[in-house]
């Protein structure tokens, strides 16, 4: 609870200051637009602090070349990862990577992350490339991920990224904000993933359509950094434009470690210097309150993320593949939870368990802590940090007729490469328990 007191400087609370109370989204967009304030619904041109792209960077480069520029206007603000089909599964994919590397070299893009470094959202978080209050626009739909650290992150298309490379500017409409409060601590076995799925199940895959989803409450403060990332990341499946969790002491400690990593670049500074908080009394289009104690493990059933049921309702469904990874749930906490479940057990015959850490740093920590050892001993296959089979490119796509239980964020028909496969989404401990049981299972009641 001490967290906000000394951060509130410069953020008007209650009746002080000028003008009506503002949402986080209003403040962050005003900052990026270089104006004092913006109104909900207003369209403004913003200059994002960071522009993210990944394996799609070659395609973006082709669009950008139409502008006839020799140099990207904002090379320092670009961040490019090779993660979606990495290591390259085919020669065509390898060619795509080669084109990107050539562009990166030509343009002197410093924030470039090679095959194996990890998934864009995780890597940029670890490297503290985005700080609280800043804006990141990314050619990736899960860019609301950066809400975990109190930044404004929104996904955009390839043409828009190309336009940003050329001009540094893009139009945004100031969204309505939805406020979601979580009070109390999550019960054992219930995770931020379950909370996110519960929200999406309750209000639908378009329940947060277009909105900035702004979290608060003691339950959010209690969440670990890894859990906050999972929650903000999942808001893409709620239709949200962006997500927001206030940066607190935990956030700043994490980011400062990242800044230290890059100390040689002279980037060390106050990670909280641009932090923004919503004003009390800000205008929300909806406000939802959840009591953490009432939450339970849930599953999103095929083929939509809002097809959410309690775990007990689908326990027993046979699974051929269990996958732990992705930008939603491929972090240390997730891998630790899985390792704990499989410790002293074996993956069931007829089922395979894939574990793909979200980044090289996660992999190193999981190695140091013995989680990888425990998982491999139980029969898991470990993959190169990156997106893995999440979007059906490679490294563990299912066969037709197979069922996958996954810690990812999407279970759309065809998502993992064939429309003849079913995907169930769950928290990582449930995925691990299901791998051991060969059926969807509750880790709290494994034999």
């Amino acid at each position: 609870m001490e967290r906000l007191s000394h951060f509130r400087q410069g953020n008007r609370i209650g009746g002080e200051g000028n003008g009506p109370p503002r949402t986080f989204a209003q403040k962050a967009i005003a900052r990026a637009a270089g104006v004092d304030s913006v109104e909900i619904g207003e369209v403004v041109d913003v200059r994002p602090d960071v522009v993210l792209s990944h394996d799609n960077s070659a395609a973006i480069g082709e669009i950008w070349r139409q502008f006839g520029q020799e140099r990207v206007a904002i090379a320092k603000r670009l961040a490019i990862t090779l993660d979606h089909a990495a290591p390259a599964p085919t020669t065509r994919h390898a060619q795509n990577h080669a084109d990107i590397r050539r562009f990166v070299q030509e343009q002197g893009i410093r924030n470039f992350f090679e095959v194996g470094r990890g998934i864009c959202h995780q890597v940029l978080s670890e490297e503290a490339l985005v700080l609280p209050g800043q804006m990141i626009l990314g050619a990736d739909s899960h860019t609301p991920h950066f809400g975990w650290l109190g930044a404004f992150g929104a996904g955009i298309g390839r043409s828009e990224v190309a336009a940003l490379w050329a001009t540094g500017e893009l139009w945004l409409r100031v969204p309505e904000s939805i406020r979601i409060d979580l009070e109390g601590d999550l019960p054992p076995g219930v995770t931020a993933k379950d909370f996110a799925l519960r929200i999406i199940g309750d209000w639908g895959a378009d329940g947060g359509l277009y909105a900035s989803v702004e979290f608060g409450g003691s339950g959010i403060e209690a969440l670990s950094i890894d859990a906050r990332m999972a929650l903000a990341n999942m808001m893409a499946e709620f239709g949200a434009k962006s997500a927001y969790i206030a940066a607190d002491g935990k956030t700043l400690a994490y980011l400062e470690a990242g800044l230290e990593l890059r100390a040689s670049e002279g980037t060390v500074g106050d990670a909280g210097q641009w932090r923004l908080l919503p004003d009390e009394g800000a205008e929300y289009s909806a406000t939802y309150r959840y009591g953490a104690a009432e939450l339970e493990p849930v599953i999103a059933c095929p083929h939509t993320v809002d097809n959410v049921v309690p775990l007990s309702e689908v326990a027993g469904v046979r699974v051929q593949q269990a996958f732990i990874g992705t930008c939603t749930n491929g972090r240390l906490e997730d891998i630790a939870a899985a390792a704990e479940v499989v410790q002293g057990r074996r993956v069931a015959e007829g089922t395979r368990l894939l574990v793909i850490p979200a980044s090289s740093m996660v992999l190193q920590e999981a190695l140091r802590e013995g989680h990888i050892e425990a998982l491999v001993a139980a029969g898991a296959a470990i993959g190169t940090p990156g997106c893995g089979p999440c979007m059906g490119n490679h490294m563990g796509v299912p066969a037709t007729g197979e069922v996958t239980i996954s810690s990812a964020n999407r279970n759309f028909r065809g998502r993992m490469g064939t429309k003849e496969a079913e995907i169930y989404l769950a928290n990582p401990a449930v995925v691990a328990a299901s791998a051991v049981a060969g059926r969807i299972a509750d880790p709290r009641s494994l034999d």
Partner: protein, 168 residues
């Protein structure tokens, strides 16, 4: 201006994975290849039979999911005249507009249109007409209109960069 074509009607939450499968996003290049995979996992008959001017009609949250732009360009490259839906996922909406594809938010029309029937969109009048009736849709924001008028975002940016003269 008028767009007239047959309606290809689908339901709620049509996602980008069924509009354009993820496995092709880093390799499919060129208009024809992209057009050929359109709606592959939703309606295999679409790419083979769609005609220039046809309309794609969806329910709520059309285009949810990935940011992949081919979910919109695969329709453009097949000559789709417009997309009509009760609501659009925001990145799909931006991608459509940025590629000069008119995305019309009109709940009544989206619900009333029957699969396969002929639909007429009158852009200046902002109406959608089908057998069940004629429905109006709201004006686009000035920013969106400017991009559409320029023929898409790339053209608009070119103008902004003063690399091309004003469009005729």
């Amino acid at each position: 201006m008028e767009i007239e074509g047959r309606a290809w009607k689908y339901g709620d939450n049509i996602n980008t994975d069924v509009l354009f499968p993820g496995k092709y996003t880093y390799t499919a290049k060129g208009r024809e290849e992209i057009a050929g995979h359109a709606l592959e996992d939703l309606d295999p008959a679409f790419a083979a039979n769609v005609r220039v001017g046809d309309l794609v009609v969806g329910g709520r949250n059309f285009g949810c999911g990935s940011s992949r732009e081919q979910a919109a360009t695969c329709l453009v490259y097949n000559g789709v005249g417009a997309v009509i839906a009760e609501s659009f996922a925001r990145i799909f909406y931006r991608n459509a507009i940025n590629n000069g594809l008119l995305a019309i938010v009109c709940r009544e029309a989206a619900q009333a249109i029957r699969a396969g029937e002929t639909v007429t969109v009158r852009i200046e009048q902002r109406t959608v007409a089908c057998a069940a009736g004629c429905y109006s849709f709201p004006a686009l924001s000035a920013t969106v209109q400017e991009i559409l008028d320029a023929g898409g975002l790339v053209e608009q940016v070119k103008r902004r960069l003063a690399l091309t003269g004003p469009a005729s």
